[in-house]
Every structure is written in structure tokens, then in C-alpha cells.
Symmetry: none
Subunit: 265 residues, 2 copies
DNA sequence: GGCAGTCTCAAGCTCAGCTTGAAGGCAAGA
DNA sequence: TCTTGCCTTCAAGCTGAGCTTGAGACTGCC
């Protein structure tokens, strides 16, 4: 659980109060202070901040307990709620006003469930909205440990190693552990999916090289604007890059489908 | 005009510009001015305004034709697009930046059926229906005349000829006129979009050849099943093919984004 | 020719969603 | 107890998205 918070002070367990530690998780059951909460969320949500958490409370999205002295104390379920809020905001682009309603109406489910919530609602509701993140050129910055990635994607460790060997993915080494950003994680997920159909690691070089070629092409086209000192111009170029990537992907898909149609019929 | 689309709404009722235009509108074929468009959308979107429509164009979400004098002229497909934009904004709370990408990537579909339809059907059905014909290996069969395609996509005729020369698209000749299926039409649309950013026709060979290679790869993997006489097995193989294509496209997009991120700095 | 409709471009406006700073209180180790 | 760092509130400010407004000029149609 290495964190990358800008307001970093890095030390794993600055847990205030003890462990009444009933069970499995090393989570301090008795409630965490706002700073601890913030650090805990920083890896998944790099742009979290203490002031933001306070702001969310101000907006009636949270309501943690308080100590006698007025300190906020966040329980495990507060954490779940907060995580849900941040996910809805980041992935679904919902405004806080709407998130508040979703939560109030019990519609927002958290499929992550470390906490034993019985998950009464139909799964259909949960999967209704798809994840839209990770298709942006500007990286979010969140990092995930190898073990987390493996668990989430249910990928074969050998496959991951193979990918790393082929240079398809590239991890960051920190404190002897591999960390991956969101894109790498999704790449691993996609590759795992392909592997289920029998597409092996060696076939992926095809994909990689064509991606490289296309990237070079797009770069060439936008090179002048990208090199510009003018920040406005640069920002526009980055947006153009994203749009170009989206259109190019769409085009490639269409071409692929067309080819496959020939094959199929 | 001379479309052969089964879902054609050919009702040349030259009714006066009725403000309601509820469901099946009369086709003011030649394009509407911004004021007319605005009034036409006012019932479904009360907070629409002329300046807002212009703003959306400024943000690269629309690109209507112009008269010689500079007046904007909105076609029927412009209207569809605009309506989609407004719906995504109002119902899905998507920011314009994201809507732009959704549209560019062809992901945004227009399922109407607005008023009070409870949509009780399970999500599976909805998402299946949401899939557009042009991304399915089983062709819908609709064909469009060149002139219609040109008008709808606003493509440069020279570009289309170039694409045809490069073998990127292939028309069917019927009664001396070129006809294109839905996929080709979308390919032309995507290419036109790319052309706006300066990606020329000759660059598209890169895309084509990699599509060919990938198609060959997928074919190889599914060849036995595809050759099967058993119709069930064949159907499964076709489904697998579509899934593979979708995942492969996603993977390619991720790889491209990753490369672009390096480029972007 | 006249007049409603439209054009561009720059400036401004509003609101969501935070951030910052000041002035001070709480918790816990030395 | 003291000290140090984390925490508190509150008010003010900032930034970007998403438009609106106004000025001044042009278009298109009767």
C-alpha cells in the first residue's frame, strides 16, 4: 500500500488508536482521522486532499463521527461511502448533487465490498454504467501493486511476466515491489481476456508494433503544436491527440470488422 | 435520396415548418438554419439556445455545412448528433469533452424512446440492442448511395475516390451508381474526421495492413470452429469473433494511449 | 430595399468544486 | 508539562466549464 499523495509523509501505520483488531484486516476498526483516510485513498485517487474530504462533508455527502475534541473519525463504512463517492465522480462524471441522491436512494452499490455487505440489489444495476476512465492521454497517476492487479484482473502471473518481457507493459519498481498504473492494469485485463480465447503473448507483438507505428504517425502530425511553448496551444494539441486516438481506434475497429465479415461469410 | 435503407423515412410531405415535429418529422431535406433547429429542439430541451448550439460547434462537437454566405445549415444527421449530445449532457451528465470522445469513437448510440418508457428490460438486452450494426460481423444489409454518404459524412469526394483506390473501401456498382454499406459509410466518416486533423489518405495503409494482419490472426485461431458444419458451433464462433474483435480493439486503444502518453511528455 | 435572421469575436457571467490562509484547539510522545 | 504536528472552523479566493451578451457587420428572402 504505498501511497503517492502530494501531501505525503509516508509511514505505513500512523494509526492513532490501537487495534481493537477483531479480524482479518489490518484496518484500525475504531475510526481513522482525516489524514489517515486521505493517505489511504491516495493511491486510487491521486487528487484527493484533506480539504476535499472536508468539502464533501460540507456538501452533506459524509457525516463522520467526532471525538470529544471535534476531530473527525471515519469508520470503515464511511470509507466505503467515500470511495463510492469518488468513483462516481471520477468514472461516471456525476455531479455531487446527483451522487448525494444516488446514495440517499441506496442506488449506489459498491462492488468492491471488502466489508461484508450482503449485496441485496441486483447486479444488473451495478453494471449498468460502464467504466469510462483510462482512455485519456493525461494519466490519472494512480498506481496499483502487482498483487492487487492480479487479483482484480484474475490474470495469470506467468502471462504478466511474459508481457513484461515483451515490453507490452512496464512496471515501476518501488520498495522491491511492482506497481502498475491504470492503463497497464487494463492492458493486463484485456490480454487476459484474449488469452481465454487462445491468443498467446507472442501474438501481441503485432498489436504493439502497430500501436507504435500509429503513435508515431499521430505524433508527426501534431509535433509542432505539441512542442509549442504556448500552454494553450499545447493543451489543444493534447485534446486533439485524444480525439485522434479515439477516431483512429474506431476506424481500426471498422476495418477489422470488415475483414472479419469476409472471413465469417 | 436514392437510399435503399429499409428503415427509410421517405415521406416527402412538404408541410410547413411545424413547430411540434414530434415523432416523424417532415424532412426539410436541404438543411435548416440554426433558428429552425433551435425551435425544433426546444420542446425536448427547454434550455437550448442559438448561442449554445454555436458554442457546441466551437467546442468541435458539431460541424454543419455552410451556405455561400456563411449561414449554418443543419442536416438531418446533424440533428441526430445534436440531440445525442444534448441527451448525453442532460441524462448522463457527461461533460462535453467526454461526449466529444464518445461521438468520435462511435460509441454513442441514439436509442430514442424517451417519454416515460420504464425500460423494464434487463440491462443485457439494452446493451445488446445498443450495439450498432456497423460493429457487428453480421452485416445489416442496408446500402447507401454515394451522394447520400457524401452529404451525411460531409466527406471530400476526392478523398472517397482515394480510399477506393487504396482499397480501404469498396463500393457496389448498381445501375451505374456506387453504393456503400453501413460500415463503409462509417469508415468514410471516420476518415473524414481524421482528414480534418491532417491525416491523409496515404497514411491509412498503415491502418489497413494492421487490420488485415489482425483479422488473419483471429481467423487462424477460430478457423476450426468457423468451418464447422454444426450451426450452433458456428454461431458460437461468430460471437467469439465479435468479442475478440472488441477486446482486441480495446487493447489496441490502450496501447496507443500508452504510447501517446510518452509522446505527450 | 427592407428587415428579420445570422455571422464573428471578445468579454463577461455563473456555478461547481475545490484551495488557501488565518487563528486557534487537540493528542500524544519526550 | 511542553512541544510538535495534526486537526478545527470560517471566509475568501481561485479555476474551468459552460454558456450569454453585445457590438458591428452581413445574408437571405419577400
Amino acid at each position: 500500500m504505498a501511497t503517492m499523495n502530494p501531501t505525503d509523509k509516508q509511514s505505513p501505520a500512523t494509526a492513532p488508536s490501537n487495534a481493537s483488531g477483531s479480524s482479518d484486516d489490518s484496518r484500525p476498526q475504531k475510526g481513522m482521522t482525516i489524514g489517515v483516510v486521505c493517505k489511504g485513498l491516495a493511491q486510487e485517487f491521486p487528487d484527493i486532499s484533506i480539504s476535499k474530504i472536508r468539502y464533501l462533508e460540507d456538501q452533506k455527502l459524509l457525516n463522520p463521527r467526532r471525538t470529544a475534541g471535534g476531530y473527525r473519525l471515519y469508520s470503515a463504512s464511511d470509507m466505503v461511502r467515500l470511495r463510492t463517492i469518488l468513483r462516481l465522480q471520477r468514472d461516471e462524471f456525476l455531479p455531487l448533487r446527483v451522487i448525494r441522491q444516488e446514495l440517499a436512494s441506496g442506488r449506489a452499490s459498491d462492488n468492491d465490498g471488502k466489508v461484508g455487505t450482503p449485496e441485496t440489489s441486483p447486479a444488473a444495476v451495478a453494471s449498468k454504467r460502464k467504466r469510462r476512465a483510462s482512455v485519456s492521454v493525461t494519466d490519472g497517476g494512480a498506481m496499483y501493486a502487482l498483487e492487487d492487479v492480479l487479483e482484480e484482473t484474475r490474470a495469470d502471473p506467468a502471462l504478466v511476466r511474459e508481457l513484461e518481457d515483451y515490453g507490452v507493459i512496464k512496471s515501476e519498481l518501488r520498495a522491491g515491489k511492482h506497481y502498475y498504473d491504470e492503463t497497464e492494469r487494463e492492458i493486463i485485463g484485456a490480454v487476459t481476456e484474449l488469452a481465454r480465447y487462445g491468443v498467446g503473448g507472442r501474438n501481441l507483438r503485432v498489436f504493439r508494433s502497430s500501436a507504435d507505428r500509429e503513435a508515431a504517425l499521430l505524433q508527426q502530425i501534431l509535433a509542432p503544436a505539441l512542442r509549442s511553448r504556448n500552454p494553450e496551444r499545447r493543451k489543444e494539441a493534447l485534446e486533439a491527440l485524444e480525439n485522434l486516438a479515439a477516431v483512429a481506434t474506431h476506424l481500426k475497429h471498422l476495418l477489422l470488422i470488415r475483414d472479419l465479415r469476409k472471413i465469417a461469410g
